[in-house]
């Protein structure tokens, strides 16, 4: 039988920068093929070439033995080649069902048959086993729910190949399990799945084979059964990495409390939340998606106003009425949704990095771009942003590298209290280890960090203490000593009776 997909000697350069050189990729029918590599290795680019988003410079793509080259995504979709993008691009003002069926709505003569579209959307959600209101506006959904809509859309096509570009970076464990069930289902129908991820455990859980890319070059393809984590890491990074967990808190119990939150409440998402943050501490905030962690962070950061409760900085009660005040008081907030709330995609790396810190570079009323650029470069070097230079427009960076720019921005701002909301979302293993190091260094310097994370390993590795939230309530505050995944999870699912 011919292979489902063969990509051979694919080359692609962006304005002189070689993103892919002589890359190959093979996919069989009914196979889940994981696609790995560091941030900026070229994974998304290759998949965008496959699905008609970009066009290759040279090379060959054979679908079931037939040479293809798609000028746009519509052509690829017509051939059953579908991608669920890393950076979601949906029409936020339209409803869920409108997004799913755009361009192929059920019609009643000249009129759109909305009732039927909604019905089809409901059926789709039933098939993949999620409950989302088809009438909801996409903007009102969480990132995770939006991702599910995208997946539903992909499933609704008569697919031969489905590409998932980091689908789980915004999903809860339950949603991930749902997704894997869907993938198994697709696989049994003979559909080929290409699965891009930075998460090792997932790769071993669902993939049959793995292809690794490094710096735009093909490194190799291995059978999942014949390899292990260490081999994969050294294929990706070109060196060994060790993984650790934090065994004991590195902060004294009587260290100064820099931030104290008492009975903070707002709407249905944050209920009576209280906790303390000590100087030099990394406070992990765990919980399932929708637990109210981001909402809680936004209250502290002044992006939203609490209905009741108090916030104390260094023992003194403060009212934080705006993000401007929060930053002035030494609080920084890195959002979980970089696309919407993190970066200015049309601006370059330098402008993004210095945005909250511009005041520092003003002399005689004018911005001193030279020294601003110098710092922007320095901090992006610290987080190892892969870029052609600080004047590269952020839109053209890979997903993980956009995240690094946001990190660099808050490092440069040098806040005393940092709220990191999913700081390593979409970041590769190598860079992740580096970011953990940076966070620990910051804490050692006396900065205090609230780290919201859905990744259990991250929580266990970084936190000095752990706050667990469920449905807007804090259900537990645990010391790191002796904390286990199971324990955290049980608190994360502990609903409070009202």
């Amino acid at each position: 039988m011919t292979e489902l997909l063969e990509m051979k000697n694919v080359n692609k350069a962006f304005s002189g920068v070689q993103a892919l050189s002589d890359v190959q990729f093979h996919l069989r029918h009914g196979e889940v093929h994981a696609f790995m590599g560091e941030n900026g290795a070229g994974k998304s680019t290759l998949m965008k070439i496959l699905t008609g988003v970009y066009q290759r410079d040279t090379g060959e793509v054979l679908l079931e033995g037939k040479a293809v080259e798609y000028a746009n995504t519509a052509e690829a979709m017509a051939d059953g080649v579908i991608i669920v993008h890393q950076e979601l691009n949906m029409m936020g003002d339209l409803t869920v069902y409108e997004n799913i069926f755009i361009g192929r709505e059920s019609m009643n003569g000249f009129l759109i048959n909305d009732r039927d579209n909604v019905k089809r959307a409901r059926e789709l959600f039933e098939v993949i086993g999620v409950s989302i209101d088809p009438y909801a506006k996409v903007d009102s959904l969480t990132v995770g729910q939006q991702q599910m809509v995208e997946i539903a859309k992909a499933v609704s096509h008569d697919a031969k190949i489905v590409v998932f570009d980091e689908p789980t970076s915004a999903l809860t464990q339950a949603e991930i399990n749902e997704l894997f069930t869907i993938i198994d289902d697709l696989k049994s129908k003979g559909i080929g799945i290409i699965y891009i991820t930075h998460r090792m455990d997932e790769v071993f859980q669902i993939s049959d084979r793995i292809t690794v890319l490094r710096d735009g070059e093909y490194v190799g393809t291995v059978n999942t059964a014949d390899t292990d984590k260490d081999e994969l890491i050294s294929m990706m990074v070109g060196r060994e990495l060790t993984e650790e967990v934090k065994l004991a808190s590195q902060v004294a119990d009587d260290a100064e409390v820099v931030l104290e939150v008492e009975n903070l409440s707002a709407g249905r998402m944050v209920k009576d939340v209280s906790f303390k943050l000590r100087k030099g501490e990394i406070l992990g905030v765990s919980g399932l998606m929708g637990a109210g962690r981001t909402e809680m962070a936004r209250l502290i950061y002044g992006a939203e106003q609490p209905e009741s409760g108090t916030i104390k900085l260094h023992g003194e009660e403060v009212k934080i009425k705006s993000t401007e005040e929060a930053v002035a008081m030494g609080i920084g907030y890195l959002s979980e949704d970089r696309r919407r709330y993190g970066v200015l995609v049309e601006k370059n790396v330098a402008e993004n990095t210095v945005l909250p810190s511009i005041e520092k570079y003003i002399s005689k009323g004018l911005i001193n771009d030279r020294s601003a650029n110098k710092d922007a470069l320095e901090y992006n070097k610290v987080v190892r942003t892969k870029m052609t230079g600080i004047e590269q427009v952020v839109r053209t960076l890979s997903g993980g590298n956009q995240q690094k720019v946001v990190l660099a921005k808050w490092l440069l701002r040098d806040s005393e209290i940092l709220i990191f909301d999913e700081p390593t979302r979409g970041i590769d293993v190598g860079a992740k280890a580096e970011i953990y190091e940076i966070m620990q260094e910051l804490a050692d310097e006396g900065k205090s960090i609230i780290m919201i994370s859905s990744e259990m390993q991250e929580i266990l590795r970084m936190s000095d203490r752990i706050v667990v939230m469920c449905e807007g309530n804090v259900t537990a505050t645990l010391p790191i000593e002796g904390a286990t995944q199971e324990e955290i999870l049980s608190y994360a699912m502990m609903r409070k009776e009202v």
């Binding site: 304005s15 002189g16 920068v17 560091e38 691009n89 490094r214 710096d215 990074v237 070109g238 060196r239 950061y301 992006a303 705006s322 993000t323 401007e324 929060a326 930053v327 002035a328 920084g332 907030y333 959002s335 919407r340 709330y341 993190g342 970066v343 200015l344 995609v345 049309e346 601006k347 402008e351 945005l355 909250p356 511009i358 005041e359 003003i362 009323g365 004018l366 911005i367 771009d369 650029n373 470069l377 992006n380 070097k381 190892r384 942003t385 892969k386 870029m387 052609t388 230079g389 600080i390 004047e391 590269q392 427009v393 839109r395 921005k409 701002r413 190598g430």
Partner: protein, 340 residues
């Protein structure tokens, strides 16, 4: 390890020169010059110095409008009221001087003030009440138009015709006329004033906190807010800057053309917005160029001066302006699309 070093750190793909040539503001400048020479070749009557004066004269007020609205468009907003507000301000200021006999300085200050008040209303509605700019400024457009008619009683209003008249000295800022031997020589002082203002505003837009924040919030409002920036304040400021320039435009118009008819100003917003867009300011916000807007509006002035010389009257100007606006917007949209 790996090859993750940053090559060419502060460098870019293109050299500064290549980048400049590719920029929209350069294209606007080139288009302006090409258009000028097209008319120059096509119509002998276009070749005189007086045509240049004519182009400059209509460029002053248009450039002020264009500069002001560039700040508004940079926030991702729009101002549909600026034409009628300019008219209303010029009428009120003129009447205070010519009918009520107030000193010229008061008349000039009130002219600017009234424009700022309207812009402040726009800015408040848009930045704080969060109305869409299109809707808010459509409302003030009608308010200003009506207000102008109320205060002027639909009569024409006259500003001093000569600089030598009492209160006419301000005209020297735009044009100094030296008469002798039956021939008048006009010195376009306004050009110097305009260039100074363009340089200053360009620096404000690109090199100050104010400008940087305006561009940032136009680029991504929420991300800018979450960077700890008081986005509402800076959005409001953009409208205030616009208001000051609408007031200056009213003064520039009064200085050059002296008489203000009732209804004057309506429709000028299209010229200003078109000029800005031609010059590379993106209607989606976040990208703007003051120099570009200058070239853009001067191009509109060249068109206005040139068309009658090749036998096409003002109805043609309207028609062609429409086409140019569409072309500029298509370029703008394509630029945004290319970046998606």
């Amino acid at each position: 390890m790996g090859k993750r070093t940053i090559q060419n750190p502060i460098g870019k793909k293109d050299s500064r020169f290549v980048e400049m040539v590719k920029s929209q503001q350069f294209i606007a400048a080139a288009a302006m010059i090409v258009l000028y020479f097209v008319f120059w070749i096509a119509a002998p009557t276009f070749r005189g110095v007086n045509v240049i004066t004519q182009i400059l004269n209509s460029s002053y007020y248009l450039a002020f409008l264009g500069i002001g609205v560039t700040f508004v468009i940079a926030t991702g907003g729009i101002d549909l009221s600026l034409g009628t507000v300019m008219g209303c301000a010029a009428l009120l200021g003129g009447r205070l001087y010519s009918v009520n006999g107030l000193p010229m300085i008061v008349a000039l200050l009130v002219t600017v003030l009234i424009a700022v008040v309207f812009s402040a209303i726009n800015g408040y509605l848009i930045a704080f009440i969060r109305l869409p700019a299109f809707v808010a400024t459509l409302g003030t457009q009608m308010m200003a138009s009506g207000f102008g008619q109320i205060i002027s009683n639909l009569e024409k209003t006259n500003w001093p015709a000569r600089a030598s008249e009492p209160g006419g000295a301000f005209k020297n800022a735009f044009q100094i006329t030296i008469s002798g031997e039956g021939k008048n020589v006009n010195i376009p002082t306004g050009l110097i004033l305009l260039l100074i203002i363009v340089v200053i505003m360009s620096v404000i837009l690109t090199k100050t906190k104010l400008g940087r924040y305006i561009l940032s919030l136009g680029s991504n409002y929420e991300a800018t807010r979450l960077s700890g920036i008081n986005v509402r304040k800076y959005q409001f400021y953009a409208y205030i800057i616009n208001g000051v320039f609408v007031g200056l435009a009213a003064i520039a118009y009064a200085a050059i053309y002296t008489s203000i008819t009732a209804g004057f100003g309506a429709g000028q917003e299209t010229n200003a917005i078109a000029g800005a867009v031609i010059g590379g300011t993106s209607l989606a916000g976040g990208i703007a160029s003051i120099w570009g807007s200058l070239f853009g509006v001067v191009m509109m002035s060249v068109l206005k001066a040139g068309l009658p010389k090749i036998g096409l009257q003002s109805q043609w100007q309207l028609f062609l302006t429409g086409i140019i606006i569409l072309v500029a917007v298509i370029i703008d949209v394509r630029r945004n699309k290319a970046s998606n």
